[in-house]
Symmetry: C2
Subunit: 521 residues, 2 copies
């Protein structure tokens, strides 16, 4: 059936088309069915919604991004046909039934995902089956390569290509801003792409965007990396392994990230830029993506073996993730903390240690002696700062950038301890929830600045952390939420009283521990 | 945030609300997030789509059924708030991780399904986890009861209540139209509710609707059953276990029907009408829901044990489902075939045998002697026809209904054999696909009339089956599809030639088998 294309300014999670109920009846399709819409130049598969008035008989409404991706001319006649189920549904069911998938079957699934052919229902069945039944390493390697094939790939003018990745889940992990300049300053090529926050307070791209562009196509990324040796780009704009973003859309509301999908997601971005040496940071601990040491070791082993199948030499570092890295959480706060370290600040030492450790692994892989010590020299000598400014300039930022240029949220509120003692617990997820309530990652200045970390001594009334926000309303939201949460706890503190008693329980403390106790950072 | 409610005449698979992007930003929600919308009298949870123009700042658009279910006054101010994830997501993940769910956890999931609180993504994760990890009988009984609790229940003025169910998947299975009048004529109460076709050519309700209403609320159903002893109602209109329909919406596109969900789906409808005696027909064979005898036995065992937990005495019949029951497939064709049998026609004998067998099981459970023979007497004597007409009249149909009143599709096309021999294969799924291409179940007259069944002898050029349609266009569609399919095959027939060769392969046959070969029905 030929229908006139009509743009509907509405965004939905799936490619969506709207037909008048009469036309839908005639084509023999109903709500939730799939229809292919096409003109001479392009074709997409959409999920159907029906209407009596939003579009007239003879029209097909196409929602938001689907219209843009199809790109019809105004009032162009569009062919609308019922489509059969995509072949990949059978392969998804095969995985649901616990079977191993062939290379070709995996490729078909990934193609259907990347072309928006699978509905949310089918995509969720895929992700669920992967979560429950898993994939072996052969399947995972095929999945990775299929994800690479459905996106852009980049070939650089020199080799080898080095890369770095940090598994998410540990807040405040801004070390990429330090690792990349160190490695590039050492003369290695590291065209790093990063993600934006999904459930965290700040992805690396959200942080970098505070002071320069991150949004480049593959060509521009290659220019930046070839001229400076490094890059701090947003992977989403480069269109590396685009199936990943569509998969994340259904993983996110379920809060799952199947092992095989996580492996393929990381490795596909690296393979797409031709990486041959890769260092992976695996933060472990409660509130991260990898809660236990055993799981971290399993990930490390799988990353290394998967690397072998893909021609990438992988080394992993299992890192401490039970509390934030450094003291700043949120785009601008993290940017400022990282640039201060590049400028020579010796604190927070946890950030410096981790960044030099990871950069050192890459220098070792690059054949340099004493990689970690060399990384520290490059940082201390100011070479990393120069390289950082070079990359920032190449990405359209200020070539003279200083930490004092970074504007953090001006609306602030201190959360103080109601007793003296030692900090014995920091809850990553609650800190992230507060930072997000304050506006992060969209509001660049929003976030949390920790004054105390595990093992730090705190006096009665002393600030544990400061909430920053870009607006008074968001600050109030975060303060409101902070009444329910105790993200930073002090030894002896009562977290909850159950069953509820109306009278106030008085906790008497007669001593305050001295300064000889351990200090955290 | 208070926003003005605006009806959007568009139907979507999930409850959907549309916000202007500015309002969405302010509330802190984005596409695909969930928002609760409420006025003083009611509240629903919806999935969010954002727009710049479809609704203005200060408005909330509510799509189709969601608007009707919420029921705001025109221009009423509606509260729109971001909602946290429903608790049941954690329980779905627990099932994904292979754990047993508690009664309370199952009840929470079913409540969230029935209230439209789960998105398609979450619902699919639930169905997928059930398909892969299953449920034990304790969980299945809890699931059944939770599904009963979230819908209507009916208490009749007399007891016990008898009921009958046929597992789907075998086309032409119109026996409910004969079983119910026989059982009711025997003096037992059988308030039967049925479903409409999902993937088949005709559900019992689609067939009954050819000659009377099927759409009744719980009160009206009780009146019909109490006055006639029987009923042939559509379960969907009675609102028994409504969570089921929402679950089917995501099962259908995946083509899955998890064992535990199938058990609970059947049993919840029976429990909701207070059934104490239940006969279940389990058609077995390729192309049905239960392909093997072992699976059929497992279903039978589970139905019986589940019945014990629910206080329902269950007996199952495993029946032959490798080819259609009788010769007619499609609403009007099946209605005509069933009424002809009630009028005394002795053919097709497969329909009579099966209907009397199933009715006999119920009469046996009701304490009558020689149930099947008694069922046959009731059918032969015309008592079943009288009772049938009584039920039809109570449901608003013609109290003098005759098979000759039923109008079948006037556009017809015969598919003939290209050789002589014996029918050795009938493919249920291909027949159903043809009937649906011809317009069934929406076009009541559309369907297939089989002239030959397994074992029947056929001459070269003799008709194997006739396609009926209500319009020439649909008939053409079905004919077109019949070129790809061979739903009825004759011994010696070439089904496919692989690899493809361009020259015609000539099959020589020099004899045609005589009439002594077996005859099917």
């Amino acid at each position: 059936m030929q229908l006139k294309a009509k743009y509907i300014d509405m965004e939905s999670a799936e490619y969506t088309a709207v037909l008048n109920r009469d036309d839908a009846l005639e084509i023999g399709v109903r709500d939730g069915d799939r229809v292919r819409i096409k003109h001479e130049r392009s074709s997409i598969v959409t999920v159907l919604q029906t209407t009596v008035t939003v579009v007239q008989k003879g029209e097909v409404g196409i929602l938001g991004r689907a219209y843009i991706d199809l790109g019809p001319d105004p009032d162009e006649l569009i062919e609308v046909v019922a489509t059969s189920k995509p072949e990949s549904i059978e392969f998804i069911k095969k995985k649901m039934n616990g079977k191993e998938l062939s290379t070709e079957e995996i490729r078909t699934i990934v193609n259907d995902i990347a072309s928006h052919t699978l509905s949310n229902i089918e995509l969720t069945a895929y992700v669920s089956s992967l979560h429950i039944n898993g994939m072996n390493l052969r399947e995972t390697a095929d999945l990775t390569l299929a994800m690479v094939e459905t996106g852009e790939t980049i070939k650089f003018d020199r080799s080898p290509v080095f890369d770095f990745h940090s598994i998410g889940g540990c807040p405040g992990n801004k070390i990429t801003l330090i690792v990349v300049p160190i490695v590039a300053a050492a003369g290695l090529l590291i065209p790093k792409t990063s993600s934006r926050a999904i459930s965290s307070a700040a992805g690396t791209s959200d942080i970098v965007e505070v002071f320069c562009n991150v949004d480049f196509d593959a060509n521009k990324l290659r220019n930046i990396a070839e001229s400076t040796g490094g890059a701090l780009a947003w992977g989403g704009s480069v269109n590396l392994a685009p199936a990943d973003d569509l998969i994340i859309r259904v993983e996110y509301p379920l809060g799952i990230d199947p092992h095989a999908q996580l492996l393929a997601s990381v490795m596909s971005k690296k393979k797409a830029v031709g990486a041959e040496f890769l260092a992976i940071d695996i933060p472990v601990g409660a509130g991260t993506k990898v809660p236990t040491m055993e799981q971290a070791q399993a990930y490390a082993k799988d990353f290394v073996e998967l690397g072998e199948r893909l021609g990438i030499h992988v080394e992993c570092a299992i890192t401490y993730g039970e509390q934030p890295v450094g003291r700043a959480i949120g785009p601008a706060l993290e940017a400022r903390e990282a640039i201060r370290i590049l400028e020579g600040d010796a604190h927070p030492s946890s950030v410096i240690e981790k960044a030099c450790g990871m950069a050192g692994m890459l220098l070792d892989m690059g054949g340099m002696k004493r990689g970690e010590a060399r990384a520290r020299e490059i940082l201390m000598s100011g070479q990393a700062l120069s390289k950082f400014r070079e990359i920032v300039a190449a990405q359209g930022g200020n070539p003279e950038i200083k930490s004092t240029d970074i504007r953090v949220g001006e609306y602030t509120h201190d959360i103080s301890s109601k007793m003296c003692g030692y900090v014995n617990g920091i809850r990553n997820k609650e800190l992230v929830a507060l930072a997000r309530a304050a506006g992060a990652p969209k509001d660049k200045g929003a976030g949390i600045l920790l004054h105390k970390k595990r093992g730090n001594r705190v006096d009665d009334g002393e600030a544990l952390f400061t909430i920053h926000a870009d607006s008074r309303a968001k600050l109030e939201q975060a303060i409101e939420l902070s009444r329910k949460f105790n993200p930073v706890t002090v030894e002896g503190m009562i977290l909850a009283k159950l069953p509820y008693v109306s009278r106030t329980t008085v906790i008497e403390r007669t001593f305050c521990p001295g300064p000889s106790a351990p200090q955290g950072d």
